[in-house]
Amino acid sequence: MLGPADWVIWMLGTLFEAAVVVCALHRKSLRRYFFLNLYMLFSVFVSLGRFQVLLHSGRSSVEYRYFYFYSDALLTIVLYFALISLYLLVFQELHVERYLRMGAVLLLAGTAWFSYAVVSQSSHRMLTHFAFELSQNLYFVGMVLTYVLWGAILKLRETRALLVQLVLSLGVYFSTFAASYAMSNLRPDLFSHITYLFPIVACLLPLSWAYGFWRVAEDARIVPARLAVVPR
């Protein structure tokens, strides 16, 4: 049975995801941030699918867990490409798109191979564990790549406020998920307690992106170096 918390989390998450696409459409930023919006659109469909499974089988069911982690692996791959599209925007003027795309595909293949190598040694239900392992590793890779991108933004003196906010909120999202996965690896007994944490954290990214598309003007500028100033 679905509790009120399940309803609220599902409803808010799906609404925020749809809101990103609507806000981007309203601001005519859909094409510019195509992969980000594609990810949000996929997320809406996956949310609907998860809801169906949740309704029929419940949150603690094996079916829900299977559906959750398989769909999460797919979504993480799309989010990875959304991150690469932000790289392409930041490095637009350096004309290195070809190398970035090639590097991104190689890194994704390397992560998939590493995940396969890890699960092939220790698992009999390989495909399920592969999906979990791939998601977990991609969150970590995503977090590191976002940090590198933030470094590039500082170095290249990128000033587009919307782009900066999109990258930083993506960093918050990736690092929260990477920490949650690491925590559930360290203490597997905590997994049942943090099942609510994943969908709650998943609401934060669409919310911050929707806010960015809605409130931050395309031509708004900030100086990222000033955001990173800390006292010594």
């Binding site: 977090m143 406020a161 906010q165 930083l168 960093g171 360290l186 934060l204 409130r215």
Partner: protein
């Protein structure tokens, strides 16, 4: 061991991204000039101090909520709490940190004042729409 390292890295990077994200929200709003009436109500003209934050937040809660700015206000509220924590711990020992936390707290108060301005104009628009209807 590996999971522990990943957890520590993730938490450190999360804190960094969270702080930078909050500061980017503040930076975007800091360019907005407050209207004379909001300056009168809040007592903030150009620069705000951290002490104004609680008062401006109370004023914010008196206005009807706008769904699109709710979470950013909560994020800044969490950032303000983090700054208060730093102010009462590390900043006591590092004077430059104390100056920095004070200035950041002031920026948070200014952000809240800008949000107040938006909520007031939102309420006004709603009132006009109701009167028209």
């Amino acid at each position: 061991m590996m999971a522990g390292i990943i957890l520590v890295c993730s938490v450190v990077l999360f804190l960094q991204f969270f702080v930078f994200y909050c500061r980017s929200l503040i930076a975007v709003s800091s360019k907005q000039v407050l209207s004379p009436e909001v300056q009168d109500v809040t007592g903030i003209s150009r620069t705000a101090s951290g002490e104004d934050f609680a008062r401006v937040m109370q004023l914010l809660q008196l206005c009807p909520e706008r769904p699109e700015d709710r979470k950013s206000i909560q994020a800044i509220g969490a950032y303000f709490s983090l700054l208060n924590f730093l102010r009462s711990t590390i900043a006591r020992m590092v004077p430059s940190m104390r100056v920095w936390t004070e200035s950041e707290r002031g920026h948070c108060a200014y952000f809240a004042a800008v949000a107040l301005e938006r909520r007031i104009s939102f309420s006004r628009d709603m009132l006009v729409q109701q009167m028209d209807a």
